[in-house]
C-alpha cells in the first residue's frame, strides 16, 4: 500500500526532509532487541552472539540496546531463556529517559503487552513496586507472559480503566498512550490500509483524559513520561498542551546523548500551543533509522 496522499500532505511541511522521511517509512525497521539485565548482561550477550557468528550492533545511546543482522534473532538460546527481549528501538525510549528518577513506586499506566514494563522492572533492579495496568483483560495474558518470562518480581498487574484508577501517589508514571500508531508503519506495512484522519481525533480525546488523570496520580515532585508511536500533533503536542492548560505541570527537556531528537511543534492547523511545548521530543524515523515516536517529560 503506497503512502496515502492525505498522510503526505499532513506531514510534508513539519518534517525537516520530507523526501528522506517518506522514503524511510517504506523500508522495514531493523531487527532490534534489549538485553534483560534481570537475567543477563550486555557483555554476556555480545560474547554469545559473537560465538554464533551473528553480527549485532550496540546502540551508542543505550548499552542494553542492539540491532541484529540475523532477521530471525528470536531463534537464539538467549531468547528462550528470557535473557533478551525483542523490542523496537523507539519503544525502549520512555523508560530510558526517566531511568535515574523512577523511585520506588512506579506506574506503567497502559502496560500491555509489556515491552516497556519489562524494561522498567529491569531498571528498578527488580526492587520497589511497579504497577502494570491495562484496561484490556484479554491483553493482560500477554503482559503476564512477558513479565514472567523476564523474571519480574516487583511487578503487580492491575486491570483498570485508568480514568477510574483509585487515588494513589506514584514517584513516576509512564503513560504510553493508545494511539494511531503511524510510527509503527516500518514494521506493519498494512497500517496505511486502515489509516484515516478521523481515528486521530478519537485517540486525541481519550489521550487528553488519560494525561490529566495520570498527572493527578503523581506525587508532588514526581515525573511522568507521556509517549505515543505516532506523528499526529493532535495526539502529541495538543495532548500535552491540554495538560498544561488544565494543571500546573512543568515540561522538562529530554537529554539523550547520541540519539537525535527534534523539538515539538508550537502550532498545528492554526492552533497555537504553550511555549513550553518546544521541550517535548519528536523522533523522526530517518534521523536514527527507527520507528516514529513522541516523548514528553512532565514534572509535577
Amino acid at each position: 500500500m503506497p503512502i496515502p496522499k492525505p498522510f503526505r500532505e499532513r506531514y510534508k511541511d513539519i518534517v525537516d526532509d520530507p523526501d528522506l522521511f517518506f522514503e524511510c517509512i517504506e523500508k522495514l525497521v531493523p531487527k532490534s532487541f534489549r538485553v534483560n539485565t534481570i537475567k543477563s548482561s550486555s557483555n554476556e550477550v555480545k560474547e554469545n552472539f559473537e560465538g554464533y557468528g551473528i553480527n549485532i550492533k550496540q546502540m551508542p545511546w543505550y548499552s542494553d540496546a542492539f540491532v541484529s543482522d540475523e532477521p530471525n534473532v528470536g531463534s537464539v538460546f538467549e531468547h528462550f531463556l528470557g535473557k533478551i527481549y525483542l523490542q523496537e528501538l523507539v519503544s525502549m525510549l520512555p523508560p530510558l529517559v526517566i531511568k535515574n528518577e523512577l523511585g520506588d513506586y512506579v506506574l506503567d499506566a497502559c502496560a500491555a503487552p509489556g515491552s516497556k514494563t519489562t524494561e522498567l522492572a529491569a531498571m528498578m533492579e527488580n526492587k520497589g513496586t511497579l504497577i502494570a495496568n491495562d484496561i484490556s483483560y484479554s491483553r493482560i495474558k500477554a503482559l503476564k507472559f512477558n513479565l514472567e518470562k523476564v523474571g519480574a518480581l516487583n511487578t503487580l498487574i492491575t486491570n483498570q480503566d485508568l480514568r477510574f484508577f483509585p487515588s494513589s501517589l506514584f514517584d513516576s508514571i509512564l503513560l504510553d498512550a493508545p494511539c494511531s500508531s503511524e510510527g509503527t508503519v516500518r514494521k506493519n506495512s498494512k497500517l496505511f490500509n486502515i489509516w484515516n484522519e478521523k481515528q486521530i481525533h478519537g485517540h486525541s480525546n481519550l489521550q487528553k483524559q488519560l494525561i490529566v488523570k495520570a498527572f493527578d496520580l503523581l506525587k508532588p515532585g514526581g515525573v511522568m513520561v507521556y509517549s505515543t508511536c505516532t506523528f499526529a500533533p493532535e495526539e502529541n503536542e495538543a495532548v500535552v498542551d491540554h495538560l498544561l492548560q488544565k494543571r500546573e505541570a512543568k515540561l522538562e527537556k529530554i537529554e539523550l546523548p547520541n540519539f537525535k531528537l527534534s523539538p515539538g511543534l508550537l502550532q498545528w492547523h492554526g492552533r497555537e500551543y504553550d511555549p513550553q511545548i518546544e521541550l517535548v521530543s519528536r523522533v523522526w524515523p530517518h534521523h536514527n533509522d527507527t520507528g516514529g515516536f513522541f516523548l514528553a517529560k512532565v514534572r509535577k
Binding site: 534481570i38 537464539v76 538460546f77 513496586t129 513479565l147 518480581l153 492491575t158 484508577f165
Partner: protein, 137 residues
Amino acid sequence: MNVLKYFAERFGIPESLFDEFGIYAGPKGRVYLGPKKLPDKPDIVSPGLLIARAESAVKPTTNFLQLFGKHATKNIISLSKEQAVSYAKGEDLRIPSENEGYVIVEYSGNFLGCGMLKSGILINQIPKAKRQLVKYI
C-alpha cells in the same frame, strides 16, 4: 505446603534468598513471589512472579527455575547441547537416572526450566507458549 521450604529441601535453594519478598496465594494453588507489601488498591490480578502450583504436590514453574536455578545444589539434570535444543522445543528425553520427581534442567550454566523425571524419562514441563526452535546455542 510451604513452597520455600520445599524449594530448600528439594533443590537446596536457600529460603533466605526470599527474605525481601512476599509470598502470595492465588486461585488453584498458585503461589506468587512479589514485593513485600501490596498496595490496598486497586485489585491486583497478578502479584509478582508465579513460582509454583501447590495442590496435592508442589510443581515449580519454569520461569521460577530459570531465575533461581543458579542457587540450586541438587536435583539438577545437565543436558548436552543437542538435548538442550530438543528440550527447548518441547520434547521428552531419555535420561538414565534412578531419580524421580521434579528437577531443574540445565545446559552449560543456563537454566532451561522445570522437568519431571519418571522411569528414566525426562518429561517436558516447558509451557507450550515458551517452547522454541533454538537455532543458535
